[in-house]
Amino acid sequence: MSTVEDRPTTDTTGSPRENGGRRWVGRSVLRKEDPKLLAGRAVYVGDVALPGMLHGAVLRSPHAHARIVSIDTSAAEAIPGVAAVLTGAQAAELVNPMPAFCAEPVPQTAIAIERVRYPGEAVAIVAATDRYVAEDACAAIKVEYEVLPAVVDPEAAMAPDATRIHETLDSNVAFHRTLDFGDVDADVARAHTVVRTRARWHRMGAQPMETAGAVASWNPFDQSMTVYSNSNFHNFLPWAFAGMLGVSTNRLRMIPCAVGGSFGSKHFITKVLAIAGALTKATGRPVQYLEDRVDNISANDNVGCDRIYDAELALTEDGEMISLTLRIIDDYGAYFQFAHGQHGNAMAQPTGPYRIGSLRYDVSCVLTNKVQQGFFRGAGADPGNFVLERLVDKASEELGIDRAEIRRRNFIAPEQFPFKTPPGNVYDSGDYAAVLDRALEIAGIDKWRAEQERLRAEGRYLGIGLATCQERTGYNASEWWFLYDNPPLPATSTPESVKLDVDAMGGVRVEIGCPLWGNSPETVVSQVVAEEFGIDPADVSVTYADSTTGAMSAGPGGSRLTIMLSGATRGASRTIRDKMIRIAAHAMEMDPDDVECVDGTFRAKGAPSTSMSMAEIGMRAHLFFHDTPEEESSGLVAVHTYDHPYSTPPSADRKDMGAFYPMVSHACHIPIVEVDPETGVVTLRAYYAVNDCGTLMNPTLVEGQIVGGIVQGIGAALMEEYRYGEDGSLDTPTFREYLMPSMHEVPEIVVEHLETPSPFTEYGVKGAGEGGRLVAPTAIASAVDDALKPLGVWVDELPMTPERVVGMVAGAREGRP
């Protein structure tokens, strides 16, 4: 079925199936990150206080679309304690426009110049002695606007005569492309049934509990800048930040802070960096700019996909899925900074876990007067899973094939891996039927069906959901630009680095390039070091590198961190361990091949009493050059950069996008809901999930990621949504309107794991960071559907708010589609 050439093979000895001898990889080691977080001693960016530091605040546009006629800052400047007030034009003299990944001419500055294009766009910024005074100053700025027509509806925005968001573009359709993989027309022609859905996935946002922020400190004397922030790209794209900040790349020092959650929203945070950067340059003093919640919701780039799908799945009579067509209108908002990266991402798994032979992917990226899209957990694959699984459920209905059975018939079989999907991405491994079977088992489906029947007799509506979805993991930034032919950027690797050293007393220290973003990098790194040296993870010290190390790290994102950190740490460990073996062998007058590292000692194979401790070797390596092998330099330090384990470039004609996201986890979710069709209230009664993310590095931590993701998925399914008024005003600017689940909306969630190791990665690990949210929304939609089946309801729009559910019930009653 598929051929995969040039795939790397990795040493997977130590995978649980082949080697039960692993000691630390696979164990639920308690998190090393916890104590400082629990004690309130971790330093988040809002906790950074530098001598003489000022505080920033932003005046934001109340209008979705307006021309700025005039700005009068004189009253604000007169307020005692105000150090600087900058308009967009003034800030533009200090910092440059924000870096953009789009090829189209859509310039964006952190503070608007002449025109605002979304509600909440920054109009002026202030630095003052404290945030209170800074906000006083914002309130004293007088802005005169000429209100322009707001473009709110993405379909209306596509009309040739629609109000243009950017005069630099010919139309509000910033990007359109149709990509065919395989012979779609022939497959549809031979299909017995084509099921269709028009589905709506509204915009939601990451909403980490901590907002984005930066403390920037400009030193005018040596033209250098130090920036504390909660970005994770300080070791990936620091040059891009330097360009924006107007600092030479080798004089920008970016220091990571503990981060209060991101979920994809804090990669770039170029707005806060530019605001803090402009204010420190204007004042010559350190400036902290930390978004408040309204800043974050209205203007942070944490908004996810906002799509309208017209989707078709073609099947044979016996339910074989043969072709998928996705026509997508995606409302990108007012700017296009990250281009169509979320569609590049979606290209990793549009056909899901199924053997679908051909794909047509037609995407229109449309600009409107809303805050631009950024990234949010799922990053484009989330609505894809929603739509595909809805189509599969619909096919199950129309063909009269049980929904588990139709999936089973179409799953890629274990022996077909590595499997090349129609767009070219490769899936590494999996056993999807086993996951499905186990999920049905732990959910106790028969018991729930009986309960459903019992409740229906009482006029109550219980529903059992089912979804089987992919989670592509280990991203590769090529997806940000490979839908373009032009500029034809080559594929990237998106690497991760660590620096490991063993000191003279044998202590192991690892400096990592990623920040603490809520993940568990210290724990993972310690487990890997412990595994490789046979020492206790508690004895490993882990610190966070700033941007001056020069070692590349892309950090968390795209469910990559555990894959990449274990690769980097294992590589560095092996380099140092091998050097220590050589030094020990030299000291013990043996051949290095006869020396092994066991339990933190280096000993003769077969004669364990002949050994050296890590401290003995460490001291020798650090101080006694003449007692080490001739070819060895002093010291025990290694930087290991682990490149993406398996990526291939897209073909020039884009008939094959290449392997770019090949570590593919899989899950089956079975939520149980009860729906009150009169009030539209959906209550989750239970939730079952079986997940396969390859070798589990740390089962407890993986479960934490999955459960957390599922609850975000519950939010996506039932609650979370940016809403805009007809005039483009944002109706959901605080947590009182943008609703996320609380403890009360969450049922007991049962998670189980299967382990199909990846052949591409160290230890066989795959990612697990996004899976919960990638599966839960569509699974819950399926459950609501199942509950309301007697009423003829078909769910094709999320979130299923009480009003939407009541509307769906009424629509079904009236025979509306």
């Binding site: 945030r131 209170y132 906000e135 006083d136 309130a139 408040d292 919640r293 309204v294 009169e678 009030t679 539209g680 209230v681 609650m719 949504e721 809403r723 109706d731 959901t732 605080t734 009182r736 309107e737 609703l739 689940p741 609380s742 009360h744 909306e745 708010t801 009480p802 009003e803 009541v806």
Partner: protein, 295 residues
């Protein structure tokens, strides 16, 4: 999101508080629990020049059932915390509706500080406690330097976030009259999230006479109009009926008559009217059963 500057006054007794309110008039806001006011001030949706903190005024924290010449009356002072009220056996015995409705208000840490009277005075058209007070036929006791007056709850709520207080006046207490035997009450609501303000909520108080007929019905709605409102048409449908399923259905069908809800991101006007009908049916049904002494 930080409040604008204001002058802070902390009167030591009621007279001092009333003097300060008289002096500053409309520039002053009374601060009790602050769980709504401080939120608005943080967002600069309220920027009073003067804040009069009444938390140190003695006597305002009294919660008592008085048996004067007339029927027993529950009186809650202006600084009685919602949490205190909901845990009070007196309130549970005298006005269980206040407890039932109050349990829906936000979360324990907010109710520990927030006051019942503060919620009433704030007059949020979506809030539970004003609606409960309305259904309970409660009264609002207000004071100024000129003296004290009592305002019927129905006259107190004049619009969204507006009340019948004059400048210089403050609410010192609310009063809830006792209910005759054969009275049952219920509060039901639909909120988007536990603890959030409801999209719509219904408080019902039903009294049945010895023959089982509904002798009195008071139904109040939140989230269904510009202010907490009585559903008079529904009450009329129920009053004099046998309280059976048909009567309840009739009351429910009329519950939204004449309502003009404001729509927002949690529910359109139409949806709120829909919920008003559905929830009225449920609240009334429960209240009728409770009036008959059933669970």
């Amino acid at each position: 999101m930080k409040p604008a500057a204001f002058a802070y006054l902390a009167p030591r007794d009621l007279d001092e508080a009333l003097d300060q309110l008289a002096e500053h008039g409309a520039d002053a806001r009374v601060l009790a629990g602050g769980q709504s006011l401080v939120r608005l001030m943080n967002a600069r949706l309220a920027s009073p020049a003067v804040v009069v903190d009444i938390n140190r005024v003695p006597g305002l924290d009294s919660l008592a059932v008085t048996n004067g010449s007339g029927p027993a009356t529950l009186r809650l002072g202006a600084t009685v915390r919602q949490r205190t009220s909901e845990l009070s056996p007196d309130v549970a015995a005298h006005a269980p509706l206040l407890v039932e409705a109050g349990a829906h208000v936000a979360h324990a840490p907010v109710r520990s500080r927030g006051t019942v009277v503060g919620s009433v005075a704030f007059a949020d058209p979506s809030a539970e406690l004003p609606t409960a007070l309305l259904a309970l036929d409660g009264r609002v006791v207000v004071r100024s330097r000129a003296g004290e007056r009592t305002i019927e709850a129905d006259d107190f709520f004049t619009g969204a976030f507006t009340n019948a207080l004059d400048a210089g006046e403050m609410v010192v207490a609310i009063e809830v009259p006792g209910s005759p035997p054969g009275t049952g009450s219920a509060f039901v609501e639909v909120a988007r999230r536990h603890g959030d303000l409801p999209v719509c909520g219904v408080a019902a108080v039903v009294t049945r006479s010895d023959d089982g007929r509904v002798s009195s019905a008071r139904i109040a709605l939140c989230g269904a109009d510009e202010r907490p409102v009585r559903a008079r048409a529904a009450e009329d449908a129920l009053t004099g009926s046998d309280g059976g399923a048909d009567a309840v259905a009739e009351a429910a069908a009329r519950a939204a008559d004449g309502l003009s809800p404001r729509g927002d991101c949690h529910g359109s006007p139409d949806f709120r009217r829909h919920l008003a009908r559905i929830l009225t049916g449920r609240a009334v049904s429960t209240a009728v059963h409770r009036a008959a002494g059933e669970a």
